[in-house]
């Protein structure tokens, strides 16, 4: 065991420790400060006999001369086992629900290894979330990473909880025009909180408890008053647990990471302390790569039954989508669900801004057998018509309703009905995809037939509700 009392500098969360030998990059360090507090850390850089260590649990109480550093010869690991289900851990993977230690089946490095692209299996199983704005237009697919871009005060927690509660996979259907049965109890949930408030975290724990989803959940909690740097490890802890459950226990795992913004701020803090050349808005230049090592841990692997689906949540500073955190996230994830303050103000839940939201895997996840043959065309039509309706509304603001052509008026009426009936739904209302599609068809029927350009005629004939006299 290599133990040193040779700390020279302490800068923010970083310690510079001298005269060390055999230290390796990424090595785990146990720090003990003069006041008896302890912290884990890891080696960020080693130069000759000097190691730069980042302390996960803060450096308060430390002092260069009295700090003891023990180098443990391994990297940060998580002991994993099936018994983690139903348990709550802190941000570094230690039980904090008063329960016993986990007897690990294995100890795994929290950094994982990249999935070989040739070993990936393409995500193409539709997940029914029961939320029309998602299922109908931007469907989630098993193995996808689909973040929620939100803002302070918006109901992202409610939406994430609703997804976690309702997520279900459908059986394959032999008929193109019939949606398959819902399969029960398919998902385990791994939940990682980074820097969120106690109340927010409590909302989720209660939510899991009351729906007894807790037996299928593993929670890692780093709250607002927990050490910031610890947050850098938390999502990796969660994903390590998820990988174990998915690839070794054959479970379908839904991972909720919230709030990625606080995670990124912790990275920025470390980067600033290292005096690195900052990229946009002070975030480190490697933020993209770093986020990718988290998000890319979603997926499916050939020959293994389980899968990892990620729903990261991030709050956009100033509701700004071009801020580096949502921006870089959007470049990595397979789409995004964007929440909109205007819809929220107007009392619409879930306030999903349909147009800028996107699910890149939707082509693969919907259609005959998976959902229904008309799904893709219908969703294109709904998108197109809603976009046109919003444009017409803008026009009406400037020129007055009267200036609109008849077809524009029809689109305005469509857009209003779409927001009110399709997007809006109860927090505990679960709509099957068949119900969502039926609703979509009812709305499409508000449009003049000649404007229904994106749906194949055969589907219009087959699915369009018959005239309910005006």
């Amino acid at each position: 065991m290599r133990e040193y009392m040779t700390t020279r500098d302490i800068v923010g969360p970083l310690l510079l420790i001298e005269s060390v030998t055999d230290v390796t990059y990424g090595e785990l360090v146990e720090l003990e400060y003069p006041d008896g507090t302890k912290s884990l850390g890891n080696v960020l850089e080693v130069n000759g006999d000097v190691a730069l260590v980042q302390a996960f649990e803060g450096t308060r109480g430390s002092n260069p001369s009295g700090t003891k550093a023990k180098f443990l010869g391994r990297s940060l690991e998580l002991g994993v086992s099936r018994d983690m289900l139903g348990r709550v851990f802190d941000g570094l993977g230690r039980p904090n629900d008063g329960g016993p230690e986990i007897i690990p089946d294995k100890r795994l490095s929290i950094y994982g290894s990249p999935i070989n692209p040739t070993a990936r299996d393409f995500p193409d199983d539709f997940i029914q979330t029961g939320v029309s704005a998602i299922d109908g237009l931007n469907p989630l697919v098993r193995g996808q990473k689909l973040p929620i871009f939100s803002g302070s005060g918006l109901p992202h927690n409610e939406l994430a909880a609703q997804i976690a509660r309702q997520a279900a996979v459908l059986a394959r259907s032999a008929q193109a025009d019939v949606v398959g049965e819902k399969l029960e109890g398919e998902f385990a949930v791994v939940f990682a909180a980074m820097g969120i408030t106690f109340e927010d975290a409590d909302f989720f724990t209660q939510e899991f408890r009351t729906t007894s989803a807790i037996e299928r959940a593993v929670l890692f909690l780093n709250l607002a008053d927990d050490p910031a740097v610890e947050r850098i490890a938390t999502p990796r802890m969660a994903l390590t647990a998820a990988e174990y459950l998915a690839y070794e226990c054959d479970m379908h795992v839904l991972v909720i990471l919230t709030d990625m913004t606080y995670y990124c701020e912790a990275l920025r803090e470390v980067s600033a302390a290292r005096k690195e050349v900052p990229g946009r808005r002070g975030y480190p230049g490697y933020l993209y790569t770093d986020l990718a090592t988290i998000y890319e841990r979603a997926g499916r692997v050939k020959g293994r039954a389980g899968s990892i689906t990620q729903v990261p949540i991030l709050s956009m500073p100033d509701d700004d989508k071009t801020h580096p955190i949502p921006d870089l996230t959007g470049y990595i994830t397979e789409g995004q669900i964007i929440l909109d303050r205007n819809l929220h103000r107007r009392g619409i839940y879930p306030p999903v801004a349909v147009l800028p939201s996107l699910s890149r895997l939707k082509q693969k996840g919907i259609g005959p057998g998976k959902t229904r043959e008309d799904h893709a065309d219908l969703s294109n039509q709904l998108f197109g018509a809603y976009a046109r309706g919003l444009q017409a509304k803008e026009l009406a603001v400037i020129l007055g309703e009267a200036a609109l052509s008849d077809s524009d008026k029809a689109f305005v009426a469509f857009a209003d009905a779409f927001e009110d009936r399709f997007i809006r739904q109860g927090k505990h209302e679960e709509r099957t995809v068949a119900e969502t599609l039926a609703l979509g068809w009812e709305l499409v029927s508000l449009l003049p037939r000649s404007e229904i350009k994106r749906i194949k005629d055969e589907y219009v004939d087959k699915y369009m509700p018959t005239e309910t006299e005006a």
């Binding site: 130069n47 990249p114 070993a119 393409f122 690839y247 993209y288 790569t289 990718a292 580096p324």
Partner: protein, 602 residues
């Protein structure tokens, strides 16, 4: 070979001392696991090394072994249909060796050493050959004949050569050099990635690279040997556009570099390409494709190398006389890899932390594209062998901001700019290529080809449509302020035509089988049809037809659906034209279709 020792480890960068004889860009083996690395800076006896694998667990004192050779790729039969990482490790082979997750320190050669290929000699003993000359061929797969060439720097007389089955490292021939030395020639060449392969001379490119995507081929064409970029915020359609080009373009070989992008996108290509049929060869698309996949979560230094690995392979196929298209998705991630390494080297940063040499590196990369006369003797018929590399680079500007350094430096060197707009994507106008800001500097170059291969009117039709779209944009402002009624009838017709161009020509659904590919001929006919309606509408209105009736003429439905006709049904366009005549001016053949004009008289 000499051995050095690690003194510093900082992420993907390792500093070692004791590497005195090594040179810049030499490949080294780092640590006890022999991780691949490349020397990127030398100060005194200290070498800075970028390591292509995860460096966790490395520490001072660990060994670094020199190899004395620069980072290189292996070129020869077996590249097609492969999937490599950024430093040409075959990912499918690694999967077989170590399973689903990438493990450090495991490597395999880029070309299979066991596989035997049928080599057919095309020169004979006694023939004088020099660099680039073709000495034989291997039918690599049903689509591509692999031409075995004399390496660029070698020349002499063929001492012996025999057709037969060989592995890539077997000598298929021997060369007697002018100094009398006998050197073996194998089917495999090894070439340092950071050095462009030589050619005889650059020539001007005038033949379009047809992609089947209407907005590209008609409005903003690229030539075989051209360079273009697709910048756009996330979700605007960079990847789909690149995939479309990889799938449907008339290049003979496709090199697709997934540089720091999503793992699932590579999987998508891997699953789809073997299934899709190349419209030109009738064989699976994968047979003409090489994939370089260094996804965002794979080591960042290998990402930096991946574009060089890809372009070197492209040059090699070009040297055989093929037209190659290389797609780099995304060059921004490549630039960021440079930035990251540069930061670790503590270099002085330029704009937004990117190294000051960003512009130079980007320019040097795009400069490796182009159409060339290949090195080596002319073919038997006296034809000069030419080959080309077209490069299509996607750019992922932060926040969609086109003033950022990677976009700006790229725009200085590329000739085609396909600007993707998120507003268009939100409206599900795909491809979301903005027709007002995009440009192609190859337009005049391809016009003669269009004239002789498509139609004499294609160019002028294209220009007319472009003018209509421009005018629409100006008029849209007026409409926004005072409403459609403020426009003259002719202007209203123009607005309607512009809408048709946008919706029925520019929009193209990459996921609809009957829409994803449009031949130049079809593109021209579609334009012709839209413009015919436009002209006839103006005439009909002049003769008294009401706009409302013109716009609701039943033939418009047929125009809307024309893009789905497909090459087999090209004759339909005549009948649509006849309908236009009948319905708008009453002059067509079809009696039963009542003319709007006649309707106007009612």
């Amino acid at each position: 070979m000499e051995q050095g020792k690690i003194v510093k480890v900082a992420g993907p960068l390792v500093v070692a001392e004791g590497l005195i004889e090594s040179r810049m860009y030499d490949l080294v083996r780092v640590g006890n696991e022999g991780l691949m690395g490349e020397i990127i800076e030398m100060r005194g006896d200290r070498a800075s090394i970028q390591v292509y694998e995860e460096t966790e667990g490395l520490g001072p004192g660990d060994p670094v072994d020199a190899t004395g050779a620069p980072l290189s790729v292996e070129l020869g039969p077996g590249m097609l249909e492969s999937v490599y990482d950024g430093v040409q490790r075959p990912l499918d082979v690694l999967e077989r060796m170590t399973g689903a997750f990438l493990t450090r320190g495991v490597t395999a050669p880029g070309l299979d050493r066991e596989k035997r290929w049928e080599f057919v000699a095309t020169v004979s003993a006694g023939d004088r050959v020099s660099g680039g000359d073709i000495i034989g061929t291997v039918q690599e797969n049903v689509v591509i004949e692999h031409r075995i060439m004399v390496p660029p720097s070698k020349a002499g007389t063929i001492a012996d050569i025999t057709s037969g089955t060989y592995t890539v490292t077997d000598a298929v021939a021997h060369l007697k050099t002018d100094s009398g030395e006998i050197v073996p020639l194998t089917m495999m060449q090894v070439w340092p990635v950071r050095m462009a392969r030589p050619h005889a001379r650059r020539v001007s490119a005038t033949e379009p690279l047809t992609t089947g995507t209407r907005v590209i081929d008609t409005f903003f064409p690229i030539v075989m040997g051209g360079v273009s970029c697709i910048p756009g915020p996330f979700g605007a359609g960079k990847t789909v556009t690149q995939h479309q080009i990889a799938k449907w373009s008339n290049a003979e070989v496709v090199i697709f570099i997934g540089c720091g992008e999503r793992g699932n996108e590579m999987t998508d290509v891997l699953m789809e390409f073997p299934e899709l049929v190349d419209p030109y060869s009738g064989e699976p698309l994968m047979k003409r494709t090489v994939l370089v996949a260094n996804t965002s979560n794979m080591p960042v230094a290998a990402r930096e190398a991946s574009v060089y690995t890809g372009i070197t392979m492209a040059e090699y196929f070009r040297d055989m006389g093929y037209n190659v298209v290389l797609q780099a998705d995304s060059t921004s991630r490549w630039a960021e890899a440079m930035r990251e390494i540069s930061g670790r080297l503590e270099e002085m940063p330029g704009d937004e932390g990117f190294p000051a040499y960003l512009g130079t590196k980007l320019a040097a990369f795009y400069e490796r594209a182009g159409k060339v006369e290949c090195l080596g003797a002319t073919a038997a018929g006296g034809d000069v062998r030419t080959g080309s590399i077209s490069v299509v680079g996607s750019v992922s500007p932060p926040g969609g901001d086109l003033s950022e350094p990677v976009v700006q430096n790229t725009l200085r060197v590329v000739k085609v700019f396909w600007a993707l707009q998120d507003q268009l994507a939100f409206q599900r106008h795909f491809p979301a290529i903005d027709w007002l800001t995009s440009y192609s500097l190859y337009l005049d170059k391809v016009t003669p080809f269009w004239n002789s291969h498509v139609s004499e009117e294609y160019r002028s039709r294209r220009d007319t449509c472009m003018a209509i779209l421009q005018r629409e944009n100006e008029l849209a402002e007026i409409v926004r302020l005072v409403g459609l009624e403020a426009l003259s009838a002719e202007e209203q017709i123009l607005m309607e035509t512009a809408k048709t161009i946008r919706e029925d020509f520019l929009q193209q659904n990459a996921f609809r089988e009957d829409d994803q590919f449009s031949s130049l001929k079809e593109q021209d006919l579609l334009l012709k049809t839209i413009l015919l309606f436009h002209e006839r509408a103006i005439e009909a209105h002049a003769k008294g037809a009401a706009l409302k009736d013109i716009f609701s003429a039943p033939v418009r439905e047929r125009i809307t659906r024309a893009k789905y006709l497909g090459t087999e049904n090209i004759a339909e366009y005549d009948s649509i034209a006849s309908d236009i005549e009948t319905q708008l001016v009453g002059g067509g053949a079809d009696e039963s279709a009542r003319a709007v004009y006649a309707g106007g008289e009612r």
